[in-house]
């Protein structure tokens, strides 16, 4: 049974990390990170060609993680697969004991690195959740044909972007995701808890019941923060955080010490996680270390979190 489901449904503070398959077929780096993450997180999201950048497919890394004793979350976007292909992948995933997934619409191919690829979008995130819920309820596939041996059950998740104007549209879509089977939701990176709290209040007011996991992106430098503010939808790093990172860089330069902004980023992420847990703001955190997965156990330790 899904470890994440166990944790969230029993009221524990859920912890997940994120990992991308390699841009090739050597999974060594991912498996090294998996070793560090084992026992520290409830599950690891495996991205589905995030930013529409071509990688080995997520199902492969999910299988490898599962075999290495780390619970994978199969991310599924509607960008590259029609409903048949999605359902086929889900059935294969189930055969490997993978039972946790997360549905996303997916970044458009033109923003990625295989721009000529045909965008599919047969189903959006809501449609994917709806199809899988129907499969579980009816025991039938997307064509209405009975699935031999019955339908596999998945702990289904979705994403949400709290920093969004008009926020009505995000809340409204979140409600549809939950109505169609999303049991948990991971948010885009959170940097300002007041904004996050206001968003949570709106979710509450809308009567949406789901487990919310706050997205945490450990910052590596002031430049990274500025870049994300300018280019990544839904990211809004407050100026004082950027200033602190820049000050850390200046201090490092003066003292001849490398990596101070990165260390500060880890501290800030840990601080944020501890606050979220201590104030019981939401049900867990989802840490997106963007290639620095080895830092996740450090962040969790600093935040005083063990699963």
């Amino acid at each position: 049974m899904s470890m994440l489901k166990d944790a969230l449904e029993s009221g524990k503070f859920g912890v997940t990390a994120e990992m991308a398959p390699p841009k090739g077929y050597d999974f060594t780096e991912q498996m090294e990170a998996a070793e560090l993450l084992a026992g520290k997180v409830h599950a690891v999201n495996v991205t589905d060609m995030q930013s529409a950048s071509l990688k080995a497919s997520g199902l492969g890394l999910c299988v490898k993680l599962k075999q290495a004793g780390v619970e994978p979350i199969l991310q599924i976007t509607g960008r590259d697969r029609n409903r048949m292909a999605i359902m086929g992948d889900v059935l294969s995933a189930a055969s490997f004991g993978i039972d946790t997934m997360l549905a996303l619409t997916g970044d458009h191919p033109v923003v990625g690195d295989c721009k000529d690829s045909k965008p599919v979008y047969d189903l959006d995130s809501v449609g994917i959740l709806k199809m899988l819920t129907k499969m579980e309820q009816t025991g039938c596939d997307c064509g209405g044909n009975e699935i031999a041996g019955g339908a596999p059950k998945f702990y289904k998740g979705a994403s949400v972007t709290p920093v969004y104007e008009p926020v009505f549209l995000q809340i409204n879509k979140l409600r549809q995701k939950v109505e169609n089977g999303a049991m948990y939701v991971q948010t885009q990176g959170i940097f300002d808890l007041d904004t996050f709290k206001r968003f949570l209040e709106m979710v509450d007011k809308a009567g949406i019941k789901t487990h919310i996991m706050a997205g945490i992106i450990p910052l590596k430098s002031a430049g990274m923060a500025k870049y994300m503010n300018e280019n990544v939808p839904g990211i809004d790093v407050p100026q004082d955080m950027i200033d602190r990172l820049a000050a850390a860089a200046a201090e490092g330069k003066e003292k001849g010490v490398k990596g101070l902004p990165g260390k500060l980023g880890i501290e800030m992420a840990a601080e944020m996680i501890a606050k979220i847990r201590d104030e019981k703001l939401c049900d867990g955190v989802h840490i997106m270390a963007i290639g620095a997965e080895k830092n996740v156990p450090v962040i969790l330790e600093k935040a005083g979190i063990s699963i």
Partner: protein, 216 residues
Amino acid sequence: MIITQKKPIDEVMAMVANAKTVAIVGCNSCATACQTGGEPQIKELTQILEQAGKKVVATTICDYCCMNLGVKSKMKAINAADPDCVICMSCGDGVQCVAKNANNKPVYPSNNTMYLGEAVRFGVWEESCRFCGECVLGKTGAVCPITQCAKSLVNGPCGGQKNGKCEVNPENDCAWIKIYERLQATGELAKLTETKEDKGYSKVAYPRTISLRGNK
């Protein structure tokens, strides 16, 4: 209307490379409005062909190149001139209709057929409908999510807009924000709360024929 664009002239000339005599069929409808198949464009193409040493033996302009009966009658004069080939300056539909009436002579397109669009002002056409076969405009404030959202999302926006602009083309407004604003203005925001019933794609398997006379 159907929006067309002229093909690069080299591509057209390559198609007619082996022909000594050519006939040209224009279209008095959408292609005239798009300046890709009206009288001035027929004249222009005639000049180019003749400069390249070809003889333009007949030209005509159909009211609508997509209406078989009208095309049939206009093609009589073209066929009588017995050209080596015909260039049709309409949309892809017109080219096919003209070809059916061209006595087995090769028919070549001079245009690329782009989309069903709206003339927002003279010389500017915006894509407005993708013929999804299941119009949702009644629920989306008469803003088409199938066409105006780069992902054709039907249940609300993705997370990809930045400052109201689409991740796919920052010159485009996010369709779902437009839908939201429109429904807010018309007092119909409640329409957004329904998840769209997924009817699948089996009904849009092409080519389709619609007939008011029963069978095809």
